[in-house]
């Protein structure tokens, strides 16, 4: 057996949470394997057992501090099923939608401006001392402020719908615990047009970047894949509710308008010994072929149209690039994400002008059930919450398939493709290793805590021989 070298990137920076990458090189310096390892373990599915069901939407959102609203709402939707609330009141559903668009908006803005823009604005090889949010603030102060203000606006929307900017209590089984008062509405409306304007600008940056770098990006961690998302009954993009649609890399519908209460009939999860993250797949297609991508790229790919005017024009431009076929470029996630930012902004304005938000009818109940599934399109992709509840109102089973889990195989593929293309048979530099992280960042993975680093990338590269001995180690 020839000598083998192993490069470890740990932690992966400018992502939400903590992960590491291992890259194996053979004796000729060729990459033989590259993997993204998720090294966190949270255990929510287990310790939620025994707790009363109404507590769950508030508890499980603490999986995350970036998009807790996704878990809050997915759990609340599952609990709607438990309490027999088959149709929420208009006020409850629209308040929840507003909460969700506010969250999508702030999460996407955070990712694009704080985590990704340094790569796009300064280049993958730029000095890491500059290639960070502080560098952006220094060179592009207006853009940096926009990013902060867009995130702030989204957080204010969450505060006024959920009660708090992070980890609120707004959604309760069967509805919502507050409406939006006129002063609250006006507080948000006064900044709404400015937010839409900034969203247009962010979209333009992402679109121009993709188009200008299309040749490089076409071979940057790109690969054909299926795409999965929720879809509204009429085929429109819907981030809050719908049926499951999956298309193949050519755009053929493999699954369409599937009732997610029965998701376990079509989706299973595989466990591997090198990651705490599970690997979901479509049962009929098996673990080899049944994986799929989720998130902004998939949603723009699966949607027949977007029901807000400016985002729909942006979607058509996006689709025109690939002649109407799905776009399979990993780096096109950024463009798709900014289309969603504009969509979320347009939707928020539409909702703020809707009198139903001032309604007084907040909660409905029906016949109690013992099992419920709630799905939502979280900023990072389709999120599954599944619960069983006993007669004493205690949770007996909880299964969560979080968005990043669905992107597990795709992220690993992207990592391997980038590593093989850029790291094989050459001297490994920080800029080349950053490309691996750039590919991961495109998916905006949420590794479930807030340990992303700021400033110089705390990257340690270890060269390990086939006996596991470190033969060389350096920090960049």
């Amino acid at each position: 057996m020839g000598a083998t070298k192993k490069i470890i990137i740990e932690p992966v920076t400018r992502v939400e949470g903590h992960g590491k990458v291992s890259i194996l090189l053979d004796e000729n310096g060729q990459v033989t394997r590259a993997r993204l390892h998720i090294v966190e373990f949270r255990g929510f599915e287990r310790f939620i057992q025994g707790r009363p069901y109404w507590e769950v939407p508030v508890t499980v959102q603490r999986l995350c501090g970036i998009c807790p609203v996704s878990h809050h709402l997915a759990a609340a939707k599952a609990m709607d099923v438990i309490v027999g609330a088959d149709k929420l009141t208009p006020t409850a559903e629209k308040m929840r939608r507003l909460m969700h668009y506010g969250q999508t908006y702030q999460s996407h803005a955070l990712h694009f401006f704080h985590l990704v823009s340094p790569d796009l604005l300064f280049g993958f090889d730029a000095d890491p001392a500059i290639r960070n949010i502080i560098g952006v603030i220094k060179k592009y102060p207006e853009l940096a402020v926009q990013g902060v203000m867009m995130r702030k606006f989204g957080q204010e929307v969450i505060r006024l719908t959920a009660g708090k900017k992070i980890h609120g209590t707004g959604a309760i089984p069967g509805g919502i615990n507050k409406n939006l008062s006129i002063p609250e509405r006006d507080f948000l409306l006064k900044d709404m047009d400015q937010q839409i304007e900034w969203s247009r600008g962010a979209l333009k940056i992402a679109m121009d970047y993709t188009v200008e770098h299309l040749e490089d990006l076409s071979d940057f961690g790109a690969f054909d894949s299926s795409h999965l998302s929720l879809i509204r009954e009429d085929g429109a993009m819907d981030l809050y509710d719908g049926g499951i649609r999956m298309i193949d890399s050519e755009g053929n519908k493999i699954i369409d308008h599937f009732d997610y209460q029965n998701y376990s009939d079509i989706i299973a999860e595989e466990v591997k010994d090198w990651s705490y993250m599970k690997f979901p797949f479509i049962k009929d297609m098996g673990t080899e072929n049944g994986w799929y991508r989720v998130g902004p790229l998939s949603r723009v790919n699966t949607a027949d149209f977007i029901d807000t005017p400016e985002a729909e024009i942006a979607r058509q431009e996006f689709k025109a690039l690939t002649g109407g076929k799905p776009n399979n470029l990993t780096m096109a996630y950024h463009w798709a994400r900014m289309i969603e930012v504009l969509h979320a902004a347009e939707k928020m304005k539409e909702l703020l002008l809707d009198d139903d938000l001032q309604g007084e009818d907040l909660v409905v109940k029906g016949e109690r059930r013992s099992e419920g599934v709630g799905l939502i399109e979280a900023p990072r992709g389709t999120l599954f919450h599944h619960y069983k509840v006993n007669e004493d109102d205690q949770v007996t089973m909880c299964n969560l398939i979080v968005s990043t889990t669905s992107n597990n195989v795709p992220m690993n593929l992207a990592v391997e493709k980038v590593a093989k293309k850029y790291l094989s048979g050459t001297e490994i530099t920080e800029g080349l290793l950053n490309r691996v992280e750039v590919a991961i960042r495109a998916y905006d993975p949420c590794l479930s805590c807030a340990t992303h680093a700021l400033g110089k990338m705390p990257l340690t590269v270890s060269v390990v021989d086939h006996n596991g001995q470190i033969v060389d180690k350096r920090s960049t």
Partner: protein
Amino acid sequence: MSEKIKFTIDGVEIEATAGQTIMQAADEAGIYIPRLCAHKDLLPFGSCRVCTVMVNDRPQAACTQPVSPGMNVESETEELRQIRVNLVEMLFVEGNHYCPFCEKSGNCELQALGYRLGMLAPKYPYMFNKHDIDASHPDIYIDHNRCILCARCIRSSKELDGKNVFQFVGRGIHKRVAFNSDTDLAATDVSVTDKAIENCPVGAILKKRTAYAVPIGKRKYDSQPIGSDIEALRAEVK
């Protein structure tokens, strides 16, 4: 007519009725003395000691100590605040109080007292004791993780509800609230309308399916600290 007597709390002269406790007299005068086990509708109990005050330089429980003419009571001192914080902190570490998702948050007397007393970072190690949950009753849910053994449920059931649903069993760290049944709470004669349920100061005894109905910002202690209702009387007394 009951005899009127005078004494001072933190230098303020108070007129009280003979037979009243220091806490009762202070409440009427609009002076809040922190408490947990004490409740206006229940007999004095003297268990939690959070209401400890200095009476003529000796520590006493304000909820059980009767007033006497000319007594000098100190309550709002840094030394007593620190003692009270320590007592409250010990209750926090002995149970499993996860305020961030507890449905009693914002309406919880223990949490509100922590805020009022300026309890910041914990200084005692958490014990992570294992406690049970009893969800057997169709309308009531008991989480022993959050019980502070104030006995309000026990006393309310006897004194106000005319029942005997709850009782302490065990000693020391093993002490806990038990039910007057061979099996579980569902087998007792407790009712969701009992004062025993309403008077729990923490999230240990809860009405089912009412959680988070009140939005953040409108909960009992969201906008003003615990004791503000008593202190509001002070302006009227003056």
